[in-house]
Amino acid sequence: MLKLQNVSPIIAGRVLFQGLDLKLDIGEVVVIMGRSGIGKTSLFRCVSDVAYPFQGRICREKDFFHVYQDQHQLFPWLTIEENFRLAKCLGKARQICGEWGLDHHWKKKPGMLSVGEKQRFTLTRALCRPEPLLLCDEPLSAVDSITALSLAEDFKSKAHACGKSVLWITHSILEARRVGDRIVILHQDRCCEILPPDLSTEEFHAKI
């Protein structure tokens, strides 16, 4: 699905972190963590943009779908239904939204929804798209921590069910433990670590 061999983005001739080796399997959610400026978003750009400068080797599925950080990913002048129709995934979305208790919002515009509801729809759209690989760049950063944790957990189970492979960036250790099957910690001066999500929060803090 996605294979990174000694990959690190290069900005102004400088390698951002020690080369990352990672193999992302079908239906797996891998969380990318690290300090601000370490190059998490740049790593995504390496995966999505062939012209972005990086060292190492990347093998990936051709198709991928981005979930961006900002909350304006649904087009505000279209209703939720129209947004999904435009994304060509209305049928599947109805089913997932029904499970998330969102099916009464179809005729509403995004401006009438809370941030949490908007993000649920954004994540639903990502899950319903045909692309097998999802690149989620801090998708829950605008949501309060309690909602974020519940969303992250729901997303993980649905991603497994839909067979999506997901790279997920976050700064929240709790969120990472909920959503990730594996957690990658990027380091500038030493090798990147790949950890299981069942480590304690203190252990994660120590690693970061």
């Binding site: 981005h66 961006y68 087009f75 505000p76 002048w77 279209l78 435009l86 401006g111």
Partner: protein, 249 residues
Amino acid sequence: MQRYNKIVVTISLLVIWWMCSIYVANDFLVPPPDKTLFALYKNLHNAHFISAILSSIYNLVVAWAISMLLILILVFFSNISNTVRDFIQGMGSIFSPMPSFALMPIMLMVIGINQTTMTAVLVFGMFWMNLSTMIHALDTSKHTWYRHCNNLKLSLMESYVKIYLPAMLVDIISVCKNTWALGWRSLLAIEITFGNLGSGKGLGVTMVMDRTTFNSVDLWASLLVVIIIGSTILLFFDYLVERARKIVA
């Protein structure tokens, strides 16, 4: 609150006007508001006056529609290639600062004394002033939404029709508003200076006729009509902008 302010300003102006007319005590120079409003009421029942207003508005609507169409066509072409775009923007930087009124003598020589000359001058003024705004608005819209369109793998047509154009709805209406406001000023200036180029109709022509016949009260009444029409159309566009903002936000 803004509407309330406008009412206060209107009432204040009426009071100032009344006080001036009492102070000057010369109905020819400053006719009192009551006489002017009565003249306006009387004129609104006069077929000739109404046809003058409609003639002015018709000329403006034609010129406005042509200039908006030209703006849309050139914005479309400016997106096809960077060379075309640079050429259009270069032309804009030359013609935009030029007052369209300055073209009038040349247009009169080339086209002749007819309404086409007036339409051409109006179109020229409205078109160049707003073309660059529209190009910039489309750029901003594309800059904001391109990655989302790309992410959803929308076709070029879908991106423009469903995303870029709706996203710039507020800018489109603002350009329509500015174009109209500029056209209204230019139209009145042309009509007052050159007459309505052959047709003998138009609000500006009526004002000139009132001045020639020393009919000061009717002149002030016509001026009121100019202000009322200008403000009403602008208020209408403001309303549309607000509506569009709510849709796009």
